[in-house]
């Protein structure tokens, strides 16, 4: 083992504990929309970085969907070369300030960190965030050289992480890239879904500005399929199209009373709050129902974001109602932990079966059933089975349904020959996003179903390479 990282011996390294993340106090933050984790300072970051033992065959890298050179950037932080660290990450991950905040590191890089075998893994995500924030604070975000213009136009549909990533990669290769976005603001879920207290919108806006500086054009308010079709894009001279429209259609449970007033899909609740800034009503014009007793149905990141939003909007009781147990919740551990600290109440092994309302149609009560876990289902998780006769009621005035999303059919319906599977997701051949239509590629949630930011980005990267090859051959 060579002696690296500014002369800390191996034995001493292991003694350094994982550095905690400074955070806003739970009792204060549950009343504001400011970011919860405050970020490492330089000293803490270097201390944490020194814990890394610079493995020859680093597990962390193999756990990273875009294979960031993790040991190298950590070493650069340890040595105080913070900008160098940011550049190392950006070689393979174009959105580190975002990934450092929202990636499920406990299932990825940190899961495979050797230090995790005996103790706590290196806080890779926090270090990634530190390096990216440092670079941004310096105002020294580097504009990389782009290759000479190829003269070929590429259309990217959707400006979520997948679309932003491919746009950045292709513009650097000399393509003339235009992103078409349905909404009035670019960023996809990063803008309309994930709340400010977890991902400040200024960070997403900075990434978009960076892409614009590279030469990416963004056409907002452009619903492809309605304003123009993919075939129209080809006739306008686009040489290839990348579909990255996400899996944005909300799923409801179709139980009695679900259309009562005060019952939202998570998409609507979060869009009102994040994209439309309803939490600043009436300074902003979009209203939102700010209930006292709010139940959020579901156990994923979306449910955690919704329930924590409800607290911040003034809920006295904010419940998570989830049909499986704590262990089965798909949300990131950190989000569950934060929600608990903020006072969210959890009803595990519980599912709503109906809602009842008052004379004006407002929801006032939810009837639930208790569940127990049965045999593992196709996803390997034990499926919940209702316990007969276990009905009970919960007083609620707002409900947010966060049980998942599905594919929006607008693009498939208006693109003849585009193959989709039975759930409406676009079928791609192999890993590079090629669809059944020549020159049309797809990636992100519209191919995989709801997944993660980093997987959507990874799909964008691979498709960028594939499109470049396809157009170079032509």
């Amino acid at each position: 083992m060579k002696e690296i990282s500014v002369g800390v011996k191996m034995a001493d390294k292991i003694k350094i504990p994982r550095q905690p993340m400074p955070e806003q106090d739970p009792l204060i933050r549950r009343k504001n929309f400011d970011e919860v984790p405050l970020g490492y300072d330089a000293e803490t970051a270097q201390k944490e970085a020194r814990r890394c033992i610079q493995c020859k065959k680093p597990g962390c890298v193999s756990g990273c969907p875009v294979e960031v050179n993790i040991p190298l950037f950590i070493q650069q932080i340890a040595e105080g070369d913070f900008l160098g660290a940011a550049h190392t990450i950006k070689e393979t991950n174009s959105l580190p300030a975002i990934c450092g905040r929202v990636c499920p590191q406990e299932d990825q890089c940190e899961k495979f960190c050797i230090l995790g075998k005996k103790g706590d893994p290196v806080a890779i995500g926090r270090l990634e965030r530190f390096a990216a924030d440092y670079e941004r604070a310096q105002g020294s975000v580097e504009i990389p050289p782009t290759l000479p213009a190829t003269g070929k136009k590429i259309a990217v549909i959707g400006s979520g992480p997948s679309g932003l990533t491919i746009a950045g990669d292709l513009v650097k290769l000399g393509y003339d890239v235009t992103i078409f976005e349905a909404l009035h603001k670019p960023g996809g879920v990063l803008i309309y879904g994930i709340p400010e207290f977890r991902l400040p919108k200024a960070i997403v806006e900075a990434e978009v500005e960076y892409l614009k500086k590279l030469g990416v054009k963004i056409e907002l308010n452009s619903v492809i399929g309605r304003l123009k079709t993919i075939d129209d894009l080809f006739s306008e001279g686009y040489a290839a199209v990348y579909i990255a429209v996400g899996a944005g259609a909300p799923v409801f449970m179709n139980i009695p009373g679900e259309n009562l007033l005060g019952i939202y899909s998570a998409n609507e609740y979060l869009t009102r709050s994040n994209l439309m800034k309803a939490y600043l009503f009436p300074d902003y014009d979009t209203p939102i129902v700010t209930g006292k007793n709010v139940a959020v149905i579901g156990g994923g990141n979306v449910a955690m974001d919704a329930v924590r939003t409800a607290l911040r909007l003034g809920a006295e009781n904010a419940y998570i109602v989830y049909r499986r147990g704590r262990e089965e919740m798909p949300a990131r551990k950190e989000e569950i932990h934060h929600a608990e600290e903020e006072g969210v109440q959890f009803h595990f092994l519980t599912t709503p079966i109906s809602y009842s309302g008052d004379e004006n149609g407002w929801v006032k009560e939810m009837t639930c059933l208790r569940m127990e876990l049965g045999e593992p289902d196709a996803s390997g998780r034990r499926s919940p089975v209702p316990i007969p006769g276990s009905e009970f009621t919960l007083d609620v005035d707002t409900v947010v349904v966060a049980i998942g999303t599905q594919a929006n059919p607008v693009i498939p319906l208006t693109t003849p020959g585009l193959e989709t599977n039975k759930r409406g997701y676009i079928v791609t051949k192999g890993e590079n996003g090629e669809t059944s239509r020549p020159g049309v590629y797809a990636g992100g949630d519209i191919v995989t179903g709801s997944a993660t930011v980093i997987l959507a980005m990874g799909a964008g990267k691979r498709a960028a390479r594939a499109i470049h090859e396809f157009l170079s051959r032509k």
Partner: protein, 278 residues
């Protein structure tokens, strides 16, 4: 950004605007709508595309001042711009030769039924139009509707002009006289659409209504616009806006439209104060 090319007051509190939107103008079909947002803090509201002029690259909207955003919009003048204009959204009306079509518009809903009427007339239907308002001075598009209809019936609630009563009563008279009607398009306030649908139900006449649900994105992403049609939940923005009037749960729609009554009042009053001070 979309520039306001022309603005006109067509009745008390009802405005018509031509807005620069070349791509939408080329693409849009009868029955579709746009969603607009006026400024950084603004909300997104849907408005029907009443007409378009592809050569000039413009679309026409008609709106009534009913709340904060429509009030702000009514204060914009020619040459000023709308920050965001998204469209065309929603499914186009199914236009074909039905035979004898009756097009009914109530209040500002006449603006919405106008493009449908025009398209039905152009595809060979015999068109009877019934348009109504509370009183004569609130009536809109009488000349325009007369020009594209084989017959025009005008109603006012107070009897100040034309037939005294509701549009649904005028329709009921036609039906009672035994007139053969092949389909009905009815657009206006929810109680009016409900009344018209009840009128035609016993006769089994296909009746289309265009719903004005509350919307956010307009692309099927949020479910704010959900309505119950034939006991099934539908999203107005992507499954509609037109539905079979005999299947729609109008009572639920009316309740859902009141979801933000309280907040809308707060916004509107703030806006009025702002205007008075400024």
């Amino acid at each position: 950004m979309a520039k306001i090319l022309k603005k006109e007051v067509i009745s008390d509190g009802i405005f018509r605007m031509d807005i620069e939107a070349p791509e939408i103008a080329r693409r849009r079909k009868a029955g579709q709508f746009v969603i607009l947002r006026l400024n950084e803090k603004g909300e997104r509201i849907p408005l029907t595309i009443v007409d378009s002029n592809p050569e000039e690259g413009s679309i026409t909207i008609i709106f009534q001042v009913v709340g904060h955003t429509t009030a702000l919009l009514s204060h914009l003048i020619e040459g000023e711009e709308i920050l965001d204009l998204q469209g065309p959204l929603g499914n186009p009306t199914e236009i074909k030769n039905y035979g004898h079509a009756v097009c009914i518009g109530g209040g500002v809903g006449v603006g919405v039924v106008y493009p449908i009427t025009k398209a039905l007339k152009e595809s060979g239907n015999r068109v009877t139009s019934i348009i109504g308002a509370r009183s004569k001075d609130l009536l809109i598009l009488e000349k325009e509707m007369a020009a594209i209809s084989d017959r025009l019936i005008v109603t006012t609630d107070d009897g100040s002009y034309g037939f005294r009563g509701f549009v649904s009563q005028a329709l009921a008279e036609l039906l009672e006289k035994g007139e053969k009607i092949d389909c009905v398009f009815a657009i206006g306030p929810v109680p009016m659409m409900k009344a018209v649908s009840e009128c035609t139900r016993p006769y089994g006449i296909k009746t289309y209504v265009s719903l004005n649900a509350i919307m956010v994105d307009g692309t099927g992403m949020c479910g704010a616009c959900r309505v119950s049609v034939g006991e099934q939940t539908k999203f107005t923005c992507v499954d509609g806006p037109e539905f079979d009037g005999h299947e729609v749960d109008f009572d639920l729609l009316m309740k859902r439209l009141r979801m933000y009554c309280e907040q809308e009042r707060v916004s509107y009053e703030r806006n009025q104060c702002r205007c008075q001070n400024g």
